[in-house]
Symmetry: C2
Subunit: 332 residues, 2 copies
């Protein structure tokens, strides 16, 4: 099994808390050989926690052309994604890049074009596309257990308090990505919703800014129609008291509740639960990235799919501003 030599760009929270722990469990697949950060001291500090002792760079292109990496993990402020992905592809280096694909769909489309015009892999890491609970629920739906899905509801109430580590990230404080947390967190939710009920057709939304420190709209009531004529209601806030996330898909013959650790199918009095063991979805996304490097089709890390996730959020914000229903395809 060929071990991929991986360079990592960015030493922020995603790298430290999400990617490196996953890569530590995938040492047969990846070896972190290089670490880029604009501020070199940050990279040096982080490198000390990595057993493979990666070489430090504060010049991204030097890392790309070092001959020491086969692939790069881009985990930077999303406004840098286009530039860093372009440079990587130009250097013949395969890419895995943390979601969101970009700060808006205009720039996201350029990444999709780049990726689709290149023979290098561009894999957008969206961990919820790998989450067993949504894949299991999707299988149950496709088995026809509750009939053709008609209505999905998603409620996420996250409290990004002032003391939250993410909240102090400079690029999150003054976001150039559309809707701040609404897209930063929202693309995850839309990815999962699309896993359940397929592509979104159009969207209407009301977005509000409730907090005075999250940098953009942070609360949204949103409704969608899907290409297959389901309805979706998506309610989210990053500024309210945290409550349980509730996800439900309803068909003519029953409904499916998707919880963190179980998928429950309810049909009248009959109830059946499938337990979903704890899992590291970041590990799964890196393992899947590895498969695409070996030639597997890039289904779960497809830039076009990531663009569709982002487009739903951007369309929602546009709808909120204009008071009109926005077709998703108008942004793609």
């Amino acid at each position: 099994m060929k071990q991929i030599r991986l360079g990592i760009a960015g030493c922020g929270i995603a790298t430290r808390k999400l990617h490196l722990p996953a890569l530590r469990e995938l040492q047969d697949l990846f070896c972190v050989t290089a670490l880029y950060n604009r501020t070199q001291t940050k990279a040096e500090a982080l490198a000390e926690t990595i057993t493979s002792s990666p070489k430090i760079y504060n010049d991204f292109e030097k890392m790309l052309y070092s001959g020491e990496i086969d692939a790069v993990d881009i985990s930077l402020a999303p406004e840098l994604n286009f530039e860093f992905i372009s440079k990587s592809i130009a250097a013949g280096i395969d890419v895995i890049c943390e979601k969101p694909i970009s700060i808006n769909t205009a720039e996201g489309k350029k990444i999709v074009e780049l990726a689709e015009g290149s023979d290098k892999v561009v894999y957008i890491a969206e961990n919820l596309r790998h989450a067993a609970r949504f894949k299991r629920a999707s299988e149950v739906l496709q088995s026809g257990a509750v009939g053709q899905p008609c209505f999905a509801t998603w409620q996420s109430w996250v409290n990004m308090s002032r003391s939250n580590e993410y909240v102090s990230t400079p690029w999150r404080k003054d976001p150039s990505h559309v809707g701040g947390y609404l897209s930063d967190g929202g693309v995850h939710h839309i990815a999962a919703i699309r896993t359940l009920v397929g592509d979104i057709d159009s969207v209407s939304a009301f977005a509000q800014m409730r907090s005075d420190y999250l940098g953009a709209e942070d609360t949204m009531a949103c409704i969608m129609t899907t290409k297959s004529s389901s309805l979706v209601s998506y309610s989210v806030s990053y500024a309210l008291h945290p409550c349980e996330t509730v996800v439900k898909v309803i068909g003519p013959d029953g409904c499916i509740l998707i919880g963190d650790s179980a998928v429950t199918v309810m049909k009248g009095e009959h109830e059946e639960s499938y337990s979903v063991p704890p899992e590291n979805t970041y590990k799964k996304e890196f393992a899947d990235f590895y498969e695409t490097l070996l030639g597997a089709k890039n289904l779960l890390g497809s830039p076009r799919s990531a663009l569709k996730d982002l487009a739903v959020i951007e369309a929602s914000l546009l709808s909120s501003k204009t008071g009109r229903t926005v077709p998703i395809d108008s942004l793609l």
Copy 2:
């Protein structure tokens, strides 16, 4: 205590199953002295179940001018409300009339004008405005327990099956009231939502017809803003598998769950429940109607309030057709 002599117009499900059982428990307040129905035999059959042996009429105005009634309970197809309320007021008879106020806001406004220009009581019976769980939740919200409400979510999944008694009502099969069940059932939900978070400012919605026998759109994803800048997400279907109705109001400091038998306030780990004993909300609405006949202000049966409930549903359907956010005031 003066007993009100009540004439009832209509012998349908609402009269039989909702109003008469309530009136049976309020015999110190009301005596059913007359019963009108277009088809006299139906009235005769129903009269046999009423201990006060009401006189039967198949001419509404004859009942109004009989000298045998002080007030009338109008429980007919809503398309008849304007005509029957007008005639009652003209005859100097106080009115309680089953919701929805009318088939659409244009006609509803005429009823509001009539009522507000008359010294007779016109009381629109909306039982959910009397439900203890919403009143209790409203008190908790007003006490500031979770801070200023920011977001309310309401999901109702009702399965009006082909065999349902309501479904076979002729005026429900071929509804002249906007959106069929969406307004017939929906005004209840909006009344409760308004009890919780106040008047609605604007609405966006997607409505669909899922069944082939409910006569109109039967499924809707809807979002609202309130006059006090809360968001509301309202999801409803009369054609899908029945699931639990879930009502939640979220503030900056916690959230309130409103169930059939309890109101639960959740603040972090802290949870407090207020139990709501079973109650007959129809009995409460008739008792309240009685108070307004004695001179109390008509707060819970106000035609203007009932019009606002209906306007939210009509605006939702208009939004679904036009792809635009609809301000509620544009219909009032």
